[in-house]
């Protein structure tokens, strides 16, 4: 039996999912446009006072990122489930957790990373300073992968259920609260002039914890869902 190296396995899976995403670009664009629209609605709703907008910018951008990542979660496993490729993945003689990790990483690259790249533009719209935009990017870079990983557990558990899309949000959103608190907190800290390192460290810690546990839990959940 040929054992693939873990890196080889990761790269096959990530490349596959990226190619699939590129051939179904509409899905990727939808998430991004949703993010932009939600963030842009706030100034229209609450009025154009620059001070208020500057203060609420971190929270608004983070909540919008959270909602946008929920929107794309449904696609993480459902397409593979429907055409039977997920079944075959469970039969791959390699670690399922690594396969799941690869899927999550690929999913983040097409649904989380574009949000991070788009965030500075939206930050300018809220008159954020360059320094706070910088912190926002770092916080999003640390936080959005965690959101994808926590979301993957929910997506795997609700696989094949009717109305799974709404259910997965109910399951996952409460679990994402810590990421939201520390992510938005980091940017607020830089605005109010206090230290950001504690917030970013906690975000990093959450990411490491999610990286260690969620692929394994997701793999278990997938096996249960396939029964």
């Amino acid at each position: 039996m040929n054992k693939l190296s873990l890196i080889g396995l990761l790269s096959i899976m990530i490349r596959r999912d990226l190619v699939l995403a590129m051939r179904r670009r509409a899905d990727v664009v939808t998430t991004l446009i949703f993010f932009v629209i939600v963030v842009s609605l706030f100034p229209l709703g609450v009025g154009p006072e620059a001070d208020m907008l500057r203060n609420m910018a971190p929270g608004v951008i983070w909540v919008a990122a959270l909602l946008a990542s929920m929107l794309s979660l449904g696609r993480l496993f459902s397409a593979d489930h429907l055409d039977g490729t997920l079944e075959q993945m469970l039969l791959v003689p390699q670690s399922l957790s690594v396969l799941v990790l690869a899927k999550i990483l690929a999913h983040w690259m097409v649904s989380g990373l574009p949000l991070v790249i788009m965030a500075p533009v939206l930050g300018l719209q809220f008159d954020m300073t360059a320094q706070s935009i910088g912190v926002l990017i770092i916080a999003l870079l640390l936080g959005t992968p965690t959101l994808s990983m926590i979301g993957a557990v929910g997506a795997a558990l609700t696989l094949g259920l009717r109305g799974g899309g709404a259910l997965v949000s109910l399951l996952v959103l409460p679990l994402c609260i810590p990421v939201l608190i520390f992510g938005a907190g980091a940017v607020e800290a830089v605005i109010s002039g206090t230290s950001v390192s504690s917030h970013l460290s906690l975000l990093g810690a959450l990411l490491v914890m999610a990286l260690a546990f969620t692929p394994w839990v997701t793999a278990l959940a997938l096996r249960i869902s396939m029964e």
């Binding site: 054992k3 096959i12 055409d83 039977g84 490729t85 079944e87 075959q88 993945m89 039969l91 003689p93």
Partner: protein, 204 residues
């Protein structure tokens, strides 16, 4: 060698089968028969380890498949009702990824040869979504040629296939059996392999 002893399986509250015993040695062919809903697919999925049996055990070379895990998965190939191919990818990419994940190093020549053998000459680089149902099934069947699994578990392999492809399938199975492979399949169509006595297992 696959041994099944006292296997029982239920879906929901409904008992599909119980007390099932059989074994399969290299070079043997087993057809699972039964009416719709008698549990053929569930039996095959239990053999793949997707479904936990209520009682009984499944042994592969004397060891429980639950304990073997990856070692067992490396020796089986499962073809389900779903073709497990991606519409957005072409046949070549689909098979290359499938073989890659299974740990087989494949070059494009081997994959193309397998596709041609299944009558898909000229369709290798078309997106699978433009192929017909029968052609998609042929792409899925080409996986059999690219794997070195010894146990083939085929759930209705002949769905959507034309007469020529059914004959080809008989040929593939017979080659696999000659190489000391094992095949378990379900079908509602006649599938006779020359020179091999098909064993039958009836589920009621």
């Amino acid at each position: 060698m696959l041994e099944i002893s006292n296997l029982a399986c239920s879906r929901g509250d409904h008992l599909l089968f119980s007390g099932l015993n059989f074994s399969l040695s290299p070079g043997e062919l087993l057809q699972v028969q039964g009416a719709n809903g008698s549990g053929k697919t569930s039996l095959l999925r239990t053999l793949c380890g997707f479904i936990m049996p209520d009682t009984g055990e499944i042994l592969w070379h004397g060891q429980n498949i639950r304990e073997l895990g990856d070692q067992f998965y490396a020796e089986i190939i499962y073809l389900g009702h779903l073709n497990a191919i991606k519409d957005e990818l072409n046949a070549l990419e689909n098979l290359r990824i499938g073989a890659g994940l299974a740990g087989c190093k494949m070059d494009d020549k081997q994959v193309i040869a397998a596709l041609r053998r299944l009558g898909l000459r000229g369709r290798e680089t078309l997106p699978v979504k433009v192929l017909s149902q029968g052609q998609r099934r042929r792409v899925a069947l080409a996986r059999l040629l690219l794997s070195n699994a010894s146990l083939w578990i085929l759930d209705e392999p002949l769905t959507a296939l034309d007469v020529g492809a059914v004959e080809l399938m008989q040929e593939l199975i017979s080659e696999h059996l000659v190489n000391n492979g094992m095949v378990i399949y379900t079908t509602h169509q006649p599938l006779e392999v020359v020179g091999v006595a098909t064993r039958r297992l009836a589920l009621t």
